[in-house]
Amino acid sequence: MNSYSMDNKVALVTGGATGIGAAVVDSLTQAGAMVVISDINVAAGKAKAEDLKAKNLRAEFIEHDVSSEAQWQSTIDKVVANNGGLDVLVNNAGILIGGLLADLSIEDFRRIYSINVEGVFLGMKYAALAMRPGGSCGRGGSIINLSSVAGIVGTPGESIYGSSKGAVRAMTKHAAVEFATLGYGIRVNSVHPGPVATPMGGQVLETLASDKLLGSEEAAMQLVQNLIPMKRFGEPHEIAQLVHFLASDASAYVTGSEYVVDGGFTAM
């Protein structure tokens, strides 16, 4: 028995076209899963799916905006219909709008929440409807929500983003306990990366380096190094390997947990 095998599993990865999501898609397909990549970035998403198919891995792309309830319904329906089920949902799509709390607007707030929080709520809702006993798939599953260390500790310039990730952290635990109590067979966990070398990771540095915050790239890098004992950003595949563990049956007794992968950021 190999509990890490994803051979008989169907996974949906939101925001899977680039960054951490794309690395998750790589890990899960390599472990044998059929992976549906969903994203608003159609060109990158299609290219990612083609690239994997050329390597004889199983993947397809669906255009999908996680802030739209109608699109969640139709995406889950399509995934189940085309692939005979849904076992894993990775709620990875997310955005960052950095800046000082005093400068950010209510529109910024609503935009971040519509993707980072409403997107995760809708994803869990429609996945649970499909995965729970009697649902269109009905064989339970594993849901992994991408939160962040910013959902656990404070950093300058990320107030709305961090609070959205805090909401994901708490919602994960509520869903996990509720689903377990009801015997759904659906596990729910959150993953908390520190800064990762992706387009969003670049945005984190830019925000810190802005004139109103630290004023220079060097100062921003210095702060990041002071915050991370390992003194470097994470790599997307380092997050993906943790997601793979949580997606697989190797983590069968893990639910409602928050796993950090942050080079020691939150340990001090």
Binding site: A180, G183, P229, M230, F245, Y253, S257, G263, A267
Partner: protein, 256 residues
């Protein structure tokens, strides 16, 4: 090549329960495993079983409360297998007591086996790993290092100590650039000899166990393998950006 192929691992308390499951899984994934314990008979049996199944393992008698034993065991492992890559500080005991009835002797014994041993083992392992380019140290704490339990006062204190000691060692090693990662694992209640022995000291064992089950939202206790898989992740290079973190494997116990 397994997930920890070619690596050298030492697992304390490897004769039974979570430790034995960890030894078997690490061996299956390619590690050379030093099974250490005070229970020689059961420890030898685990090592023999691994070898019979095509793995690489050896038993060493090693009382984690003794610094001399630590040094002897580490030297012997180095000699037999080569430089140590993975240390799993798993040996532990539970003495059932409440804050009102625990004796000072019970308290000290619990800290000695569960906490002091983790300090000594981590310190000794850092000493050997830092010259070999690093390694992974995994300390087995418990959900009782995160939330309070009523009938295990001294145990809770020891496991909370393991949790914070782990973070301190992790940050230190990272800042020194040693390439040594240190993390803690927090199991919920797992069906092992530790649990059945502890329960057997109580007059209402059955009631206590069914109460424990009801505290895990997943509706059942865990198995030793559930914890071994988490330890394997932390032992492997897949977790190379993970240090100072807490891997909770508890069927939802602490999420509620």
């Amino acid at each position: 090549m397994g997930r920890v192929g070619g690596k050298v691992a030492l697992v304390t308390g490897g004769a039974m329960g979570i430790g034995a499951a960890t030894c078997r899984l690490l061996a299956r994934e390619g590690a050379k495993v030093a099974v250490t314990d005070i229970n020689s008979e059961a420890g030898e049996a685990v090592a023999r079983d691994i070898v019979e199944n095509g793995g690489n393992a050896r038993f060493y008698r090693h009382d984690v409360a003794s610094q001399d034993d630590w040094r002897r065991a580490l030297a012997a492992v180095r000699n037999d297998f080569g430089p140590l890559d993975i240390l799993v500080n798993n040996a532990g005991i539970v003495i059932v007591n409440t804050v009102e009835d625990a004796t000072l002797e019970e308290w000290r014994r619990t800290q000695e086996i569960n906490l002091e041993s983790v300090f000594v083992g981590t310190q000794e392992a850092i000493g050997v790993m830092k010259d070999n380019g690093g390694g992974s140290i995994i300390n087995i704490s418990s959900v009782m290092g995160l939330v309070g339990g009523t009938i295990e006062a001294a145990y809770c204190a020891s496991k909370g100590g393991v949790r914070m000691f782990t973070k301190s060692a992790a940050v230190y090693c990272a800042e020194q650039g040693y390439g040594i990662r240190v993390n803690s694992v927090h199991p919920g209640y797992i069906m092992t000899p530790l649990l059945t022995n502890a329960a057997s000291t109580l007059p209402n064992a059955e009631e206590v166990v069914s109460d424990l089950i009801s505290r895990h939202p997943l509706g059942h206790l865990g198995e030793a393998d559930d914890i071994a898989y988490g330890i394997l992740y932390l032992a492997s290079d897949e977790s190379k950006f993970v240090t100072g973190s807490e891997l909770v494997i508890d069927g939802g116990y602490t999420a509620k």
